[in-house]
Amino acid sequence: MTRYQVGRNSKKTLLAIFLGLFVVAQVFPLLWVASYSLQKSGDLFGPELFKLPVNPVWNNYVRAWFDGKIPQYLTNTLLVVIPSVTLSTVLSFSIAYACTRMQWKLRPVAWFIITIGLTIPIHTTLLPNFIWYNFFGLIDTRIGLIISYVAFSISFNAIIFSGLLAGLPFSMEESAFLDGAKYRHILPSIIAPMAATGFATVGVQTFLNHWNEFIMANTYLMSEAKRTLPFSIIRFQGQYSSDYAVQFACMTLVALPPLLLYFIFNRWIVAGITAGAVKG
């Protein structure tokens, strides 16, 4: 082995260690929680640094599922997230179409209003909405939460759609018009399929965001019967404060669906983020 090769190999090893350390840093906390979620709470206080579940205590998950009221919170989450994702996707596609492909005087104003949603922090609407939504009877309703979710996701989604739509040739609509087609046919059957990647990106991304959302749900929903998934974790910490293993099981259960979604739709999530970064 020449000296050059030795240098190269040790450099490669160093690089592998460096990258490996980052893998550990990003994944270990999750593994730690997942591993102790399958043990007895007492095991957490053992002297060893890390212990794999040799005799997995699956009962922790059974208890997290039922005592954490996960079926109820899950239903609540879906009742909010399915409408909010559908609405946000359709509305942002529509406004992006109107603002990138159609000609009208107030277009710059409309686009300004749309993009302003990216700058205004969600948290500045929490206090006033408490009064404002209450005035319309929207406090402690799913509709109130859905409206806020849609409002805050349109901006980013419309920007992604507008990037895709701007690149299409105008002849697409023109030839359809000549054949006598109307907008209500052209948009869903000609333009929307051309923006299919946009729908995938926007759909998955918005779903993840709304699934994970906490602070608006915490503020606008008061009754226990309507609360969403993140509350199972918080509820557990209050009621079973010393039952760490079950708490960990609950955390794992809540984290799992977004993780699976991420692994399945990885490509579209990444495409969306990249598009967002390029647009700034």
């Binding site: 690089l15 906390p29 509305l91 969600i122 409206i147 977004p258």
Partner: protein, 300 residues
């Protein structure tokens, strides 16, 4: 044909719903907030007009508010000067690896970014826990016996720990932005630099970083805005404490309104917060725009 692209009915149908929703759920609340920022109200009973008193108190006498601004600023510094360079270096390494390895590592590194803030926060609260947390056990394992630091409530470690959680989750985003930026650097640029005898270090400092400047700038804009918007992690871990050492603006306005029943005052913080967010966004974008415009002029 032209008038089909300006068909008023279609335009209205497509654009009005989005604009109404944004006006209703984002813009109107800002007006409500502005109104209540001039009032004193506990959430019940009489609403009293007190003019600029809330703002005067906030700007002139409120140490907690400035503490929150300082913490936001520290978070920005840590993100921009520690997290970003690390993310950039790793992204650069990833572009040189085999496709499969690179894709695998990118997938892993981005995992924390997909988790909800509640899960991430509770995860780290457990790791930082003084009696069973992993961190203290690790320190004990490498020789620091009797290590029982309460990371999140010790005044010396609380802010650092909270910032660590934020930076940890944000890392995947920064990495992904830089990686996708680096993939757009033309291969010819690198080859030309090698022909000119540039070493690897020079290649990055003289060629690639300048080429990537627009990407770096937009990542910094995103960092500044997201530092300003931090809330849930603090709210679910330290609640701003011990004292106000880990306070952030959004947590503070929330606590003022819902815990201390100073609804008017909370709204005054809210209004200042919006102004700050809008101003900072415009300000940074302008700096960057002027800088790149200046460069173009020099180049021409």
């Amino acid at each position: 044909m032209k008038n089909l692209f300006s068909d008023k009915k279609t335009i209205a149908l497509l654009s009005v719903p989005s604009i109404i929703i944004i006006a209703f759920a984002i813009l109107a609340p800002l007006v409500v907030s502005l109104y209540f920022s001039f009032m004193e109200w506990s959430g019940f009973g009489a609403v009293t007009f007190i003019g600029m008193d809330n703002y005067r108190q906030l700007v002139l006498h409120d140490g907690t508010f400035y503490r929150a601004l300082l913490n936001t600023f520290l978070l920005m510094l840590v993100t921009i000067f520690l997290q970003n360079p690390f993310a950039f270096v790793i992204a650069a390494i990833l572009t040189k690896l085999k496709d499969a390895t690179s894709r695998f590592l990118r997938t892993i590194y981005f995992i924390p970014a997909t988790l909800s803030l509640v899960v991430v926060t509770k995860l780290w609260v457990s790791i930082f826990n003084p009696s069973y947390g992993f961190l203290n056990k690790l320190l004990q394992g490498i020789g620091f016996q009797n290590m029982q630091i309460a990371w999140l409530s010790n005044p010396k470690t609380a802010l650092g720990s909270v910032i660590w959680i934020m930076v940890w989750q944000g890392f995947g985003w920064a990495l992904l932005f830089y990686y996708s930026g680096l993939m757009t650097v033309p291969k010819e640029l690198e080859e030309a630099a090698k022909v000119d005898g540039a070493n690897k270090f020079q290649l990055y400092t003289k060629i690639i970083v300048p080429y990537m400047l627009p990407v770096i700038q937009s990542v910094i804009v995103i960092d500044v805005i997201s530092s300003l918007k931090q809330m849930e992690m603090v709210y679910l871990s330290t609640e701003g404490g011990p004292g106000d050492l880990t306070q952030f603006i959004a947590v503070y306005l929330y606590q003022k309104a819902f815990r201390y029943s100073e609804y008017g005052y909370g709204n005054a913080i809210s209004v200042i917060f919006v102004i700050l967010a809008v101003f900072l966004t415009i300000f940074i974008q302008r700096i960057f725009r002027e800088r790149s415009a200046g460069k173009k002029r020099v180049g021409a």
